[in-house]
Symmetry: C2
Subunit: 172 residues, 2 copies
């Protein structure tokens, strides 16, 4: 079997996912390809042999980080780098540590930009559409908290959708 | 937090999922809500407390069933019960055992019909559409095999899409 494309992400609570989806269904063409998520590691290729090794490493990473809390208070945008609008996850040492551990040692280092934990709610819009969406959401206030105790390794299908391959529980 | 809607399913190999999706994208209005899958337990409600107990039970169930092979050779239909066309998973004792164990003991017994392992590729079509689709696919031959070593517990979002909550590995 050839290589698959993998990614690593956290799915927040149903409440947060439902909130994100209320925007995504209008503003994110990839809405249907994956549930709302916090990307921990950008997509990468791996063979079946390699993913066995990576799975072992991810068990190790998960065991080294205790479950933690996240907080979402506002919307932000990556503009002008990309026209991505997102629910901003407040700076969080556990997320940063997870991202770092997944980009060193036996892992491919493929973090393109500085790691900014976020849940995308709008992307791939034109400049004008982005301005409209971000303009209407930038002053919104949120008060969402969640307890994070796991992350997921996923792989991508031909149509771009993602299937979960495995769950890793933190602190175990 | 109130109750969530859960389900239990197996995601087969990417190859099988890609094949199923080549039909689903045309014939299944729920195509975007979940990747192609074999349902092991129909959807059910559970509180956060209940799902902790169920998770424990599912670990037990997973440990009692060894990884196994599946085979897909043809398409079939549940008509006239429902207009669902599916990739028929050949009769398989491991799948039957998993389904049975998830509908007895501490589990809610919510298996509506006799358990027929399948991967839906078309549903909710009109009588005529169903006849067309099934007529064009019923003579197709497939030769797909897969090694199954895990199943997934999922929950449903407000928009009907499913998020994976946890992976359970067979024989562990």
């Amino acid at each position: 079997m050839s290589e698959l494309t993998y990614g690593i992400a956290i799915f927040p609570s149903k409440e947060i996912q439902d909130t994100a989806n209320s925007y995504r269904k209008r503003y994110d063409p990839r809405y249907n390809k994956i549930p709302p998520h916090i990307t921990l590691k950008e997509k990468f290729q791996a063979s079946q042999e390699e993913i066995k090794e990576i799975t072992k490493e991810l068990n190790q990473v998960a065991s080294e980080v205790e479950p933690f809390e996240i907080e979402i208070n506002k919307v932000s945008s990556f503009s002008p780098v990309t026209n991505t609008v997102y629910l901003k996850v407040e700076p969080n040492e556990s997320l940063t540590t997870l991202n770092k551990k997944m980009n060193e040692g036996k892992f491919l280092e493929n973090q393109k930009y500085a790691f900014v934990p976020h849940i995308t709610i709008s992307q791939e819009l034109s400049e004008d559409e982005h301005s409209d969406v971000y303009g209407s959401l930038r002053m919104s206030e949120f008060d969402m908290k969640d307890h994070i105790d796991r992350f997921q390794l996923l792989y991508q299908l031909e149509d771009g959708a993602w299937t979960v391959f495995e769950t890793f529980k933190l602190g175990k």
